[in-house]
């Protein structure tokens, strides 16, 4: 809301020492944030009104004229290309040394041998392009006096507050409302009434036939029409046009400007019809029919439902009530007879329609925030007065009205107890004074409880807390004492999910990973990019119905896409070093991949990590290139720190390396994968050696606790064993076989550990085979094992393994 301080003076007299800055601060602290104080003419200086004494043709330049000007204190010569001037016209003149609103300083310029002292101004040069034809000079009313400073004329020097009005305060979307608010904030201020708001006599029968107004839809609280005849359509008075521009609207033609002006002043949206374009001489306000359409004046065909309200004439829709007019019935250049509509509509209904149709017109904006229902009468009369003043219309016709029941404000109580609990303030008399200042009337009560009646323009005041807020925002919140809450209701708990998230980030960051956060969205083509199968649950994300872009069209089903984007962005920024990143966050899945399942979805927490050696992987530590086993060790350590024993089994993902992919199994359940990226995807990124993992972290929320056990007091014996296996035999399988073999002989009790210490293939080993060397530690809890005992057990193990088909080397 742009608040013209010049116009505000019509509604309220403030103490003179209150500066615009003071006012802005007071408004801001009381809930209406002043975003900026606009001073459109702050830089303007030296520009005055001047009379054109003569116009001569330029001696050499055909399209220029030489103009002699009189400013009352001197005569000046100016060269101009403007054609819309004649002798005797008053214009704004900026002689050399003057400064325009944009900061430009004028000088003396020569045009074909004629010296031009400064220039004559168009509206555009005053930053008021909207008020007049920008190609010609701005012609002033003949009442202008030569030498008068432009800053003091036509509100050019106005100061405007750009105030952000919260949605509960529809009443502040007008100067009248702002004046009432400011009165509440400054008790010494005096409210005033502008000249055009004084009642006029309107008692004549309409000179034009008009049958009826009917309002069967009770979403229309009141509907009033005023008549203005013999109106002349022309430009509005200069001051009014400048006022409109300062308050953010474009002047159009006087009759339309009147409706906008009154709306800005009083907050009541109005509409002006050309009576002769109405299909019939009657108005009905009714609910639309489902499927009914209407062409609004922005040229769009609107599909309506029965929740919308229509203004109709002769059965034909002429406007969507409170939202937007139709194309057919507007004011045109030849309009002479005007009906002015001033109505009151349900904020719920207008809100629904404007929201559904996406129309945020000035009218809809105000109606959905509530317009004082008591205003429609006053505003109609004021508009009539301006139709008379600006359009020369006859207006003394009695307005026509139809009304439904309008909800009256209800009393609200204020108790000292609640007031003092909330605000640590309990002066009920002071509270009552504050409320009265805002127009909230004291009805009855005592020092413990009082009843108040909110005014019709404050429907937001419904409950005691609303009254408390008025008192709070008047007094300000900064002087309240600081307190802390008392005894805890229950133990404060970070909770398993966030504790686990904290554990994961601490662990991975200390292992050299950077924590990243990427968007929870996926692009349209992510599943092709990740080579996912169509029937993979991750290929069917939850779509966003109203996405901003194709790049963010659905909810992520995997964190891998974000990791790869992060890698890409990292590389694009010129990073050549090793990369280790991880992200934790939710992914979004449909249940059982069922596209039609309503009202349910899963949001499991996932963790994903990525390592990469860097595009420049030269290193003084030649043996330290990161590979599958590095990322595996990080992930494995993370899981083990929570007490779980992860198993890694060869697995498959479409987007990972066919030979370097493992599924991670914890307690028999697959929780994720760890793998090298598929070569095709690496090649696309133009990198080599990208390793990733992604797991569902649900199981990590609980720490699997193991009791500490005493260590055996007896010494251990170790024996090595070297086994020849085919290439694809996993070491885990061999270890399993060793364990079972020992168990079969009842020797698992003395098995302490099995450690793989060498993997060898090459010379001396058959093609497609590997030699795995283990060291097995035997240890008893009961006695010292003798060498020959261990030898026997170990020998038996070798035999068992041979029996299972292994070649022992």
């Amino acid at each position: 809301m742009y608040v013209s301080l010049e116009l505000l003076k019509n509604f309220i007299e403030l103490e003179p020492e209150i500066t615009p800055e003071d006012l802005a601060e007071r408004l801001t602290f009381s809930g209406s944030e002043v975003e900026s104080i606009i001073k459109p003419a702050e830089k303007l200086s030296g520009v005055v009104a001047a009379r054109i004494d003569s116009i001569e043709k330029h001696p050499t330049e055909n399209n220029l004229s030489v103009v002699n000007l009189n400013t009352g204190t001197g005569e000046y010569t100016c060269v101009t290309a403007a054609k819309n001037i004649k002798k005797g016209d008053m214009i704004f003149y900026a002689r050399a040394g003057s400064i325009l609103p944009n900061g430009q300083e004028l000088g003396i310029k020569e045009f074909g041998g004629v010296q031009s002292n400064g220039m004559m101004l168009s509206a555009a040069e005053l930053n008021l392009a909207d008020i007049d034809d920008p190609t010609g000079l701005l012609i002033l009313p003949s009442s202008a006096r030569p030498g008068d400073d432009a800053k003091n004329l036509y509100h050019i020097g106005d100061i405007i507050l750009d105030v952000s009005i919260t949605p509960n305060r529809g009443d502040l979307l007008s100067l009248l409302g702002m004046a009432r608010e400011i009165k509440g904030l400054y008790p010494k201020a005096v409210l005033k009434m502008p000249e055009w708001l004084r009642p006029v006599k309107q008692d004549r029968e309409w000179s034009e036939k008009f049958n009826s107004i009917s309002i069967p839809d009770n979403g229309c609280y009141a509907y009033r029409l005023g008549l203005a005849t013999n109106a002349v359509m022309k430009s509005s008075p200069l001051t009014a046009k400048i006022d409109l521009v300062h308050m953010g609207m474009r002047p159009i033609v006087n009759a339309v400007d009147v409706t906008n002006y009154i709306m800005l002043m009083l907050g009541q949206p109005l509409h002006a019809f050309d009576l002769n374009t109405l299909p019939e001489r009657e108005i009905t306000v009714r609910a639309a029919h489902d499927g009914e359409t209407m062409l609004t004046l922005d040229g769009k065909e609107r599909l309506l439902t029965q929740k919308d309200m229509l203004i109709t004439s002769g059965g034909q829709a002429v406007a969507i009530a409170g939202v937007m007019g139709g194309e057919l019935t507007g004011i045109n250049d030849d309009t002479k007879t005007i009906v002015i509509e001033s109505a009151s509509f349900s904020p719920v209904r207008v809100g629904h329609t404007s929201r559904r149709l996406g129309i945020n017109s000035e009218a809809a904006f105000r109606f959905s925030r509530t317009v004082d229902p008591a205003l429609s009468k006053t505003a109609l009369m004021a508009a009539s007065v301006l139709m008379r003043d600006w359009c020369g219309a006859e207006i003394n016709y009695r307005p026509m009205s139809a009304e439904n029941n309008i909800a009256e404000p209800e009393p609200v109580k204020l108790t000292r107890k609640k007031l003092s609990v909330y605000l640590s303030f309990d002066n009920m008399n002071a509270a009552a004074k504050i409320l009265e200042g805002f127009g909230i009337k004291y009805l009855s009560g005592n020092n413990d409880e009082m009843r108040f009646m909110p005014p019709t323009w404050r429907p937001d005041i419904k409950i005691e807390e609303d009254l408390i807020e008025e008192i709070g925002r008047f007094n300000g919140y900064n002087d309240a004492p600081n307190k802390l809450p008392g005894e805890l209701p229950r133990r404060a708990d970070i909770g398993a999910e966030m504790s686990c998230a904290g554990f994961i980030r601490n662990t991975l960051i200390s292992r050299g990973y950077s924590e990243i956060v990427t968007y929870s969205f996926l692009p349209e083509d992510f599943s092709e990019k990740l080579l996912l199968d169509k029937n993979d649950i991750r290929s069917n994300p939850i779509m966003i119905a109203n996405p901003i872009s194709r790049d963010q069209i659905s909810m992520r089903t995997t964190l891998v896409y974000g990791l790869l984007s992060a890698l890409k962005n990292t590389l694009a920024s010129g990073w050549r070093e090793p990369v280790r990143i991880f992200e934790q966050g939710r992914i979004f899945l449909k249940p059982d991949n069922d596209l039609s399942a309503p009202n349910s979805h899963f949001e499991p927490n996932h963790l994903a990590g990525l390592i990469f050696n860097g595009t420049d992987n030269r290193s003084i530590w030649n043996d330290r290139a990161q590979d599958f086993y590095d990322i595996k060790s990080d992930l494995s350590a993370l899981i083990k720190l929570r007490g779980y024993n992860p198993e890694f089994k060869a697995g498959h993902e479409n987007f990972t390396h066919s030979g370097q992919t493992a599924f991670i199994i914890v307690d028999g359940v697959k929780v994720g994968f760890v793998a090298r990226l598929k070569l095709a995807l690496e090649q696309e990124l133009n990198v080599e050696g990208v390793y990733i993992f992604e797991i569902d972290t649900e199981f990590l929320k609980d720490i699997k606790k193991r009791p500490f056990a005493p260590v055996s007091q007896f010494p251990a014996s170790t024996r090595d064993i070297s086994i020849l296996v085919e290439r694809d035999k996993n070491s885990e399988q061999v270890i399993d076989d060793i364990k079972t073999s020992l168990a079969e002989d009842g020797n698992n009790k003395i098995l302490d550990s099995i450690r793989l210490f060498d993997v060898y293939s090459g010379k001396g080993i058959p093609e497609n085979s590997r030699s795995l060397a283990f060291t097995i530690t035997y240890r008893s809890r009961e006695s010292t094992l003798k060498d020959n005992e261990v030898d026997l057990i170990h020998m038996a193990l070798r035999e068992k393994l041979k029996f299972k088909g292994y070649t022992i080397r």
Partner: protein, 344 residues
């Protein structure tokens, strides 16, 4: 002539000289053999004891024992010295450039927003708040209706919303967790709800995804003063110093009265008219809050006649940017580690 036969002083002197010239283990070993070997000087002396008269034998025996002890001790000491010298040489020979980069030289880095979230969670836990979490895909009912924002309400314009085909939406704030938590735990209640939120907005100062933390306290006779004190504690603990702050009246449909909190500019404290962080105002808006609206308490199935409370919502991204001096929101979510590793 026992003195000639048992020339203790001579052997001792001879030993000391030999030992002094032994510089290696080999040379030391030669000394050992020369004096304590089977034909060593000391061995011979000990053997010749038997030839002495009994009265001399005792005294000479004692002397010889002392000499033997001294020789053994000296040999051990000399061995230790030689070992130390040899080790010292070995060590010097295997000296390295200690300034080389470490192995596995990966610098882990926290994400400023996540760090902020965990820091504030810890601060608030200290003030007795538990963490409550809610779904990021939310129902209109919890995101809006329960919070006193019906469908037609213009306050919906304050939060441009992403919708899903089934009518659900991406939560536009963490406030829906308020109602979930009231329904789950009842009163009294003290919770914080950190998490991602989404709005249909994308420009230099708005991201379609950002992070918030909701706080909610429900109890009997809760005063604005407690909200004020709580915010002051939290901000001072988070920024590690006592900041100036101020409350402005504001409006949220789910609180009444409502206010916004500004803190003194963390960069210029209001001393720089051209400050890029506060644009010269000296103040930064960091949180919205208020006393919970009775309708919201009712939606949480708690009796507003008995209980009241306050709620606040902090923008975690903004807090992170302020604390860690980040001035471009878009850097936060693109995963570029050259950015993440640049600060602390």
């Amino acid at each position: 002539m026992p003195d000639d036969l048992i020339n203790i002083a001579g052997v001792k002197e001879d030993f000391k000289n030999s030992l002094a010239s032994a510089k290696t283990f080999n040379e030391l070993d030669e000394v050992r053999v020369k004096f304590t070997g089977k034909k060593g000087a000391l061995t011979l002396l000990l053997r010749s004891l038997g030839k002495l008269a009994p009265e001399e034998r005792k005294e000479t025996g004692q002397k010889l024992n002392l000499l033997r002890d001294e020789i053994e001790h000296d040999l051990t000491t000399a061995a230790t010295k030689i070992r130390a010298a040899e080790n010292e040489k070995l060590e010097l020979d295997s000296r390295i450039d200690v300034t080389l980069t470490p192995k596995n030289d990966f610098n882990g880095a926290f994400h400023p927003v996540m760090q902020t979230m965990h820091e504030i969670m810890n601060i608030m836990q200290g003030l007795g708040y538990s963490v409550a979490l809610g779904p990021e895909i939310e129902e209109d009912f919890y995101n809006f209706e329960c919070l006193n924002i019906p469908k037609w309400h213009p306050a919906r314009d304050m939060q441009d919303t992403f919708y899903l085909p089934d009518g659900k939406l991406l939560r536009t704030h963490t406030s829906p967790v308020q109602v979930h938590s009231m329904l789950e735990f009842g009163a009294p209640l003290r919770i914080i709800c950190p998490g991602k939120v989404f709005r249909r907005d994308n420009d230099t100062t708005h991201s379609p995804m950002f992070n918030q933390m909701e706080g909610l306290l429900i109890d009997r006779d809760v005063s604005f003063s407690v909200l004020k004190g709580t915010m002051a504690e939290m901000l001072n603990a988070f920024f590690g110093r006592s900041l100036k702050y101020r409350f402005r009246a504001s409006y949220f449909p789910f609180t009444e009265p409502s206010m916004e909190l500004d803190i003194e500019c963390v960069k210029c404290s209001g001393h720089d008219e051209n400050c890029r962080v506060c644009h010269g105002t000296g103040w930064l808006e960091v949180a919205g809050m208020g006393m919970v609206h009775p309708e919201v308490i009712k939606a949480g199935k708690i009796d507003p006649e008995i209980y009241n409370g306050f709620a606040f919502g902090i923008g975690l991204d903004r807090m992170a940017m302020l604390k860690y001096g980040i001035n471009d929101l878009r850097l936060l979510f693109n995963g570029d580690i050259s950015f993440l590793q640049s600060g602390f």
